[in-house]
């Protein structure tokens, strides 16, 4: 059990990342593709937080525990992930805005039917 657990979080992150990439490449709907990209990004959160986890650690917040009484998990990756989540949400919003405009100008959101920019 424990030896599996030693890599399982990383493998879940890798799986999520690959699944997102697959969805993005084979998507037939740009909105769905944007959703897949968001899924891809969740994988980066998992990897970051998994890297910072510490067995028996508690959250790095000292308002209710005495400093030094218990080990805490890595706060740096949590800060990075927080930043990452904001970035992800804004990128998603921007991509969706572009998709809405594509729907208006091309009348479709199927990438197979967008045939303007070639060669």
């Amino acid at each position: 059990m424990s030896s599996v657990l030693h890599v399982l979080p990383y493998l879940v992150a890798a799986w999520g990342f690959l699944a997102g990439c697959y969805g993005l490449a084979t998507s037939r709907n740009l909105i769905h593709a944007v959703g897949c990209l968001a899924g891809c990004q969740s994988a980066t959160y998992i990897l970051l937080l998994a890297v910072g986890y510490r067995d028996g650690g508690t959250a790095p917040v000292f308002s209710d525990i005495r400093p030094g009484s218990r080990p805490v998990v890595d706060p740096v990756v949590q800060a990075l992930t927080l930043t990452d989540i904001v970035v992800g949400a804004t990128v998603t919003a921007l991509l969706l805005a572009l998709t809405v405009q594509i729907a208006k100008r091309h009348g479709t959101v199927d990438p197979d039917e967008l045939r303007e920019l070639r060669g």
């Binding site: 990439c21 990897l47 970051l48 990128v91 921007l94 991509l95 572009l98 070639r118």
Partner: protein
């Protein structure tokens, strides 16, 4: 002095916020002057710091200077290379803002400040990326310049092509950024650090005598994927022509002139600080990766460039081709290569931005950037025609332009058969632009038929049916739109011709780059000869193409290459995955050995 480093990104960002807050009240000229002033002030600050960057400046933001060699803060690097890039970014932003003085139809209602504000945000993002000495901080600014660039590319929402190109750009680049972040997480797990130099040391310590392992390889491949997507190296390059062909011209000047080059700069920086040590990627493998990709990129870019008829798209492919040459230059991991590439990037920025600026004038005057439709129509624009032709020759490496000097120094650095790549790529791209100049501005040759033999219409993007970007057909070409390309070309010329500039630039880059002693960058007889050779070749190619179009029309083998550029974002993602796997495979021997 070093406390001023964070101001390079912060000042443009602050003024951008102020412009948005006050944009409702400010008249448009006031907003644009404020933005130009800010870009100029940042450029002045960057140049000032650059002159004081020996020894290199280091700033820990928030005053978190390391104690006992360890810090919890973010480090900014102010050496010759990073400050040089920041100065280039700021100057080019200034040029783009000046160029767009009379540009664009009505700004979005009640948002007069939004376009200049976005340009400033873009500038701030690029400056921040150039200075970053911390991997995660680099990712943040990488995303910032990305996000603003996507929005700027899709700025003309009335145009179907613009929004499509912007979305391809945004999807592929965002995915690339997430690859980068995965790489950062892996490297953080191994070393427990985020500052680039500390990660490098951590990798060396962890590797001990065994050399790098597959974790380092994965970190290398993932991180480089993000940077190479931005740098538009093959096979990550597909988004670039789609985006550059449709973005507003002033934005193209920035995208092609400096944003793409920042990707190359990032590769150089990260390799030098993180992966160059014994625990990183062995030099032979790094060279293999960069040289293989560089040659492929230069080849694909120049061939595709030759067969374009959409002028902005043609220029975009020539950027890809030159990116390949830059990768080649830094790939040999020698100080001469670094210095040559730096000069090449400087010259290329001026020349390419000037060419885009001229294309923008065509788009404004005639509502099209299609080479065939424009045949002979721009005879009256003599001044612009001269600038365009000079730009074409400079692109091919005509001495004493900085492009020629950079090319000559890089050629010397790579040596041997790779020199041929430089000559051919610059001749093909320069020749293609020269051909456009001859047809459009002089009306030489017979008017090309719309149908071109075996090519099907759906296999190519024509430049017709573009909407002009300006308010109304301006009665004359505004002075700013003519002056900016002239100034840019003059700058590229001076950078190569003024004695002492190249030496100074070389010294600045040398101090921050690959270890090794390098005398200085200067013109050599062989360099001048090779430059003249590629310029001559470009002229011959253009002449043949104009006089005997049949001889150089697309052969059968070029067609599949063009079909790969399918405009389908799923294809681009598939290529991106393959590219990452390729990066891993190319660097694999170093890990196994």
């Amino acid at each position: 002095m070093h406390h001023l480093l964070p101001l390079l990104p912060a000042i443009p960002l602050l003024v951008a916020a102020v412009l948005v807050a006050g944009g409702r009240r400010l008249p448009r000229p006031a907003a644009e002057s404020l933005a130009s002033l800010t870009a100029a002030a940042t450029a002045a600050l960057a140049v000032f710091l650059l002159l004081h960057s020996s020894p290199p400046l280091v700033e820990w933001v928030g005053g978190w200077f390391p104690r006992h060699g360890e810090s919890v803060g973010i480090v900014l690097l102010g050496d010759g290379a990073s400050l040089g890039m920041a100065a280039l970014v700021s100057l080019l932003t200034l040029a783009a803002l000046a160029y767009s003085w009379h540009y664009f139809d009505e700004p979005p209602r009640g948002h007069a400040g939004s376009y200049p504000a976005m340009m400033l945000l873009f500038q701030g993002g690029m400056c921040g990326f150039a200075l970053a000495g911390d991997l995660f901080n680099a990712f943040v600014f990488f995303e910032l310049m990305g996000v603003v660039a996507y929005a700027l590319t899709g700025y003309r929402i009335d145009e179907a092509k613009a929004v499509q190109g912007a979305l391809s750009f945004a999807l592929v680049n965002s995915l690339g950024a997430y690859f980068m972040l995965m790489g950062i997480a892996l490297l953080y797990a191994r070393t427990g650090e985020l500052a680039m130099a500390k990660i490098g040391q951590g990798l060396d310590r962890a590797a001990g005598h065994h050399g790098p392992d597959v974790l380092v390889l994965a970190g290398f491949a993932l991180f480089l994927t993000g940077l190479l997507v931005k740098a538009a190296a093959v096979p990550f390059q597909f988004w670039l022509p789609d985006a550059h062909a449709v973005a507003p011209t002033p934005v193209c000047m920035l995208l092609s002139g400096v944003m793409v080059e920042l990707g190359v700069y990032g590769v150089w920086r990260v390799h030098g600080l993180v992966f160059a040590g014994p625990g990183g990627v062995p030099a032979a493998d790094a060279t293999r990766v960069l040289v293989v990709l560089g040659v492929l990129t230069a080849a694909v870019g120049s061939v595709m460039c030759w067969y374009q008829r959409h002028i902005k798209r043609l220029l975009a492919f020539s950027t890809i081709s030159h990116t390949g040459l830059f990768l080649l230059g830094i790939g040999v991991l020698r100080p001469e290569g670094d210095v040559g590439t730096a000069l090449y990037v400087l010259g290329h920025a001026g020349v390419k931005a000037a060419l885009f600026a001229c294309a923008g004038v065509l788009l404004d005057r005639y509502g099209t950037v299609d080479e065939f439709q424009l045949h002979g129509r721009a005879r009256r624009l003599r001044g612009v025609g001269v600038l365009f032709a000079v730009g074409a020759l400079a692109l091919a490496g005509l001495p004493p332009f900085a492009t020629g000097l950079g090319k000559a120094v890089s050629e010397e650095a790579v040596g041997g058969p790779l020199t041929v790549v430089y000559v051919l790529a610059s001749a093909l791209t320069g020749g293609a632009v020269l051909r456009v100049a001859a047809r459009v501005f002089l009306g030489l040759g017979r008017r090309p038929a719309a149908e071109d033999g075996q090519e099907r219409e759906e296999d190519k993007t024509s430049g017709g049916s573009e909407e002009p970007e300006t308010r109304q057909r301006l009665t004359g070409v505004p002075a700013t739109m003519r002056t900016v390309p002239a100034v840019l070309l003059a700058a590229a010329l001076l950078a190569g011709a003024v004695p002492g500039f190249a030496e100074a630039a070389g010294h600045a880059v040398e101090e921050s780059g690959s270890p090794g002693v390098f005398s200085s960058a200067h013109w050599t007889a062989s360099g001048v000869l090779l430059d003249l050779l590629s310029t001559l070749l470009a002229a011959v190619l253009a002449g043949v193409a104009v006089a005997r179009p049949g001889l150089l029309s697309a052969p059968g083998w070029a067609l599949p290459l063009r079909r790969l550029q399918s405009g389908h974002v799923g294809d681009y993602v598939a290529w991106l995955l393959l590219g990452t796997a390729l990066l891993g495979a190319l660097a694999l021997p170093g890990v196994l050995g």
